[in-house]
Amino acid sequence: MFQFAVRRLLLAVPVLFGVSLVVFALVHIAPGDPIDLLLPPEASPEVVAQVKALFGFDKPLYVQYFLWLRSALTGNFGVSIFNAQPVLGQLLVALGHTFLLAIPAAFLGFGLGVALGLTAALNHGRWPDKLCSAITTTGVSLPNYWAAIVLVLFAAVLHPWLPAQGIWPDGVPLLGQLRYLVLPVGALSLIPMGVIGRFTRATAIEVLNQEFVSALTAKGLTRLPVLRHVCKNAAPPVLALMGLQFGYLLGGSILVETVFNWPGSGYLLNLAIFRRDIPILQATVVVLAFFFVILNLVVDVAQAAIDPRLRR
């Protein structure tokens, strides 16, 4: 088991290296010089050179890459071109806000998804299956940014129940803070609910068709203990997908965060793109991708811990 974990960790290193290369290359194939945005067109060449040197844009690309990688590995992502504040501080605050949405959304989405998927599988072909499948398929087909707008429409515009914009101002009590979470978390949880629901259903149906289920039933086990065995067998692939989905929640919250003006990492990335704030853009994408790789690693190891057959 330990061996497997180490091997899996070693495999992640070249991937992370590749990720850093892709992010760096991505930003430098972009048209337009970020310096042009910072300085007025009439700026003298000396000033341009000075600012370029300040941000390191005057060095050859590969030198820029290694300098960037070296400082990034120590947690130093430079300063924002827009407001000259350290990138790391802004990114950590934003990531905190994103986790605030992603964690409850994951719990809600995964819980509902597993419940719907199991209900569908256990009633395969009958009306509860059709109903649950309709709900989960709707979940994966809904553009979550539109769902967010519709939620705002019903719960904030037509009925002024909940706040529709932003994070709470200072001094709001805990219960009041929760009110700000309801709509964004609801919108974010739709996709994981749908994906996990559909996958749980497919996996559980496959397990239910295996011979050991008939054998257990023939042995005289009642429905509940049989269900326990089914769940145990269906759990590893579903858990793996949950890990991936949590990664997608972190990286994909940008659209929902934009609708709610939620100051998370997606919102930060969006701002960085429109301000052509390259240090922030690079740092956000690299850190989110890094999280995603680590998450995959944890999921793989966890899967192998549950199911020894996977420790190849």
Partner: protein, 301 residues
């Protein structure tokens, strides 16, 4: 000669009085025709495609002309049965024309990724060994990015525009299609009939064309159809963020974003472009489900 014999004997000649041999694809078609859900969603999709394609005929106005006097008219206004948008333009007309870019931005990236990723996957799966490792490890790097994040990052640095959005989504969809194609090809390659064809002297191309491709096409196509749904949501999402199609060109994502601030004035009108995105992506998802069960394809995540 030997390979010609193999490929002609692969389908045994039907005995004279026996029932004709029904092909695999005809069987799939027959099963699809018996599935009411698939028929309904196909008709709805056909309707949406027709509305977009024949927009000048079915629409009731001009997509770029509006009057500020009639901005944000409610649903059911005479002359504007779906109301008007923030520029006073007829919403039904804009939705019809908007379908063009939205559908194209959904379908083209999947097609492009199907060609590139499908080809790479077939190649990697058939070649095996080092070639396979190099291609698949390269794909692993792109797998390390959540898809939405990668699309937004690529589009963000390339700048907005329809072409860039399509390019960004194509890049995002290559790795998953490569992986699916590689998996099914590698599985098929190990089967006995492929081994037999190779042993009797078929060239790699012949084996691929007659023995591998017919067996892997189904799963790859089913997966690609399910990606179209995602592609439509994501491309509209990119435009919604201001990274794809730019206003005033009609596109559902752009329209949704433009009407977002009108939600307090005309809530139902403001929600309509998103409804189109939802219905279209739902139809593609259901069609993919129908195809999957008709072809009896099993796919992992």
């Amino acid at each position: 000669m030997a390979d010609a014999a193999i490929s002609s004997t692969a389908i045994p000649a039907a005995p004279a009085a026996a029932r004709p041999v029904v092909g695999y694809w005809r069987n799939v078609g027959r099963r699809l025709a018996r599935d009411p859900v698939t028929i309904v969603v196909s008709l709805v999709l056909l309707g949406i495609v027709c509305i977009a394609a024949f927009a000048p005929l079915v629409s009731t106005g001009a997509p770029f002309e509006g009057s500020v006097l009639h901005r944000l008219a409610p649903i059911g206004t005479p002359g504007h049965w779906l109301g008007t948008d923030e520029g006073g333009r007829d919403l039904w007309t804009r939705l019809c024309y908007g379908g063009r870019l939205s559908l194209l931005a959904g379908v083209i990236p999947v097609m492009a990724a199907l060609c590139v990723g499908g080809g790479l996957g077939l190649f990697a799966g058939y070649a095996g060994g080092t070639v396979n490792s190099v291609i698949m490890r390269l794909m692993d790097v792109f797998y390390a990015f959540p898809s939405v994040l990668l699309a937004i990052a690529i589009c963000g640095v390339l700048g907005n525009g329809f072409g860039n959005a399509v390019l960004a989504l194509s890049i995002v969809f290559v790795p998953p299609l490569t992986r699916i194609a590689e998996t099914v090809t590698a599985q098929t390659r190990r089967l006995d009939f492929v081994e037999a064809a190779r042993a009797s002297g078929s060239t790699a191309f012949q084996v691929m064309r007659h023995h591998v491709l017919p067996n892997v096409l189904g799963p790859i196509l089913v997966y690609a159809t399910s990606l179209i749904s995602l592609s439509i949501i994501l491309s509209a999402g990119l435009s919604f963020l201001g990274l794809g199609v730019t206003p005033p060109r009609p596109e559902w994502g752009v329209m949704l974003n433009a009407l977002r601030s009108a939600i307090y004035v005309q809530p139902y009108v403001a929600a309509l472009p998103g409804l189109m995105i939802f219905v279209t992506s739902m139809c593609f998802n259901l069609m993919s489900d129908g195809l999957r069960s008709a072809m009896d394809v099993k796919l992992d995540a």
